[in-house]
Amino acid sequence: MSSGKLEPGVKSRRLVVRCALIVVWAAFIAFVFTFGKGHTLILDNKDSDDGAVKAFESVTIAVDGQDPVDLQAGDRDMAKVRAQSHKVEVTVKDGQKVAKTITVPLKEDVLLLSIPKLMAGAQDAVIPFVPKDVAAPPEDSQSISNTPADTAVPAAPAAPAAPGAPAKPATTP
């Protein structure tokens, strides 16, 4: 859509501006991705595999100022966090409160945070969590519709879909 009869100076300036805009756009995406990426932290209060670090009898953990979680020895719980750097406040049974900062890898979705290791200052306190076997959620989502619950009505009888074709949930605004 740009005019073809432009002076070379204007052309090159326009090109520079456009390139700069693309760079800003890409940088903005990278920023949003880094700071918006969600992670699930599995808070783990268990003995380490080699037995070098023992679980706390009772411990309270608050991640990024969220509601504190109480864990007994051998317990696990979960916290959802955003971005990479997080403040973990650990309160052990005797009331001693310790605040630690952890950094999670950008590409990992689920991480295991070992509280005993964290308190012991171990390097591997945060490790990627690899589930043994995860079944994908069932594809029974056709009952969900875009109709708000308060105005929802039974779905109209639909013609049977062709094999393999996507079913159509209601989309009333």
Partner: protein
């Protein structure tokens, strides 16, 4: 006599809005819903839908009618949201990411749509409608076959069990109501999504400002008369393409705002009725194919959605079947568009006839005067 004429003119010019107002008011009582509930619904739905409806304004200013091609922008927005869910981006960050990722796609779609509509001057609405079907095929191909096979998808929760293709319905829990709750104000029984309203207000300010710019003036002159605009040096095709590009980008953002409010997304048909309901809303608000204002948008969203809220209840009460109310929504939506277009065609024809008659009369009068002078 002149009073009767002006009343008649008022009725003719506002037939759609008055018809809708009467039906809505009549349906409120049998619906059994409290006014507080209806008011809260309207606040929510104003935030949900206004942005999408505002996206229709610029093409109307440019004389391109109601932009049914905004569905293209909606599809781009949905693609961005799928990626945001795939990468587990939370809250407003997820929405911004979706908007940024879908921006180049919607720019391209807008350009394609504008270029096609320039080839079909005078038939923009039906062309846009059909173009949306065509692009829908490409969207389905990308989402149903390429995502997971060619385009990497990390989240198993959104992929079909066969390993590629996105599921029919996506749960948008990670971004659900993130904009609405960013700055929510609770006053008595009402909750106001202030952040969403601020975004909508910013768009209104942009539209008002844009109309005063050189490009905005060009758009209006193109909308008024394409040939005169071209003669006076306005690049008509370029201006029309820009109008459609802006509308498509706004539709992209509007669809993201709409879906964050809904909280789930029908992957393959959430966009189907985006343009349909947006067009119905702006027409109910008193706009026409040639003329629309910002107040038309808000009046239309409120009126259309009051009817949407009360019609299932009214249908249940009056006919013992809530489904009738649901069908009534569809009937009203399509009906409003049909009535508006028919009224517009009727008015245009009448004005043309009047203009012809006026020209004939003037010609006759001039001839008489000339003859008299002789």
């Amino acid at each position: 006599m002149s009073g009767n004429k002006s009343v008649g003119r008022f009725l003719r010019e506002n037939a759609v809005i008055l018809l809708f107002l009467v039906i809505t008011v009549l349906a409120i009582k049998p619906s059994g819903l409290s006014l507080v509930y209806i008011a809260q619904e309207m606040i929510t739905r104003l935030g949900r839908d206004s942005f999408l409806v505002l996206a229709l304004l610029l093409p109307i200013y440019a004389g391109m009618g109601l932009n049914f091609g905004m569905t293209l922008g909606a599809m781009a927005g949905q693609f961005g949201l799928i990626l945001a869910i795939n990468y587990n981006l939370l809250g407003v960050y997820g929405l911004v990411f979706a908007a940024l990722v879908s921006l180049p796609i919607s720019l391209l779609m807008g350009y394609v749509c504008g270029a096609v509509l320039n080839k079909a001057k005078g038939r923009e609405m039906v062309t846009g409608y059909i173009l949306a079907f065509f692009i829908n095929g490409i969207y389905q191909f990308v989402v149903l076959y390429l995502m997971g096979s060619v385009i990497p998808v990390r989240s198993r929760a959104i992929v079909l069990s066969r390993g590629y293709g996105i599921r029919n319905t996506l749960n948008l829990d990670t971004v659900r109501l993130s904009l609405d709750n960013l700055l929510a104000l609770h006053l008595g029984p009402f909750s106001f999504p202030i952040a969403t309203f601020m975004v909508i207000a910013a768009l209104c300010v942009f539209i008002i400002w844009f109309r005063k710019t050189k490009l905005g003036q060009d758009m209006r002159s193109v909308g008024f008369d394409m040939h005169v605009a071209e003669s006076s040096g306005v690049p008509v095709d370029r201006t029309r393409i820009i109008a459609i590009i802006i509308s498509t980008v706004l539709a992209t953002i509007g669809q993201i705002i709409f879906l964050q409010n809904m909280g789930n997304m029908a992957t393959y048909n959430a966009h189907d009725q985006t343009s349909f309901f947006a067009v119905a809303a702006i027409l109910v608000g008193g706009a026409s194919v040639k003329k629309a204002t910002i107040p038309n948008v808000f009046i239309g969203v409120i009126l259309l959605h009051v009817l949407f809220v009360v019609s299932p209840g009214a249908g249940q009460k009056l006919f013992g079947e809530a489904m009738i109310g649901e069908y009534f929504r569809q009937f009203i939506g399509y009906g409003v568009i049909a009535v508006s277009l028919v009224l517009y065609a009727w008015r245009t024809r009448r004005e043309t006839e009047r203009a012809r008659a006026g020209a004939g009369l003037r010609g006759g009068a001039a001839a008489t005067a000339k003859g008299g002078a002789q």
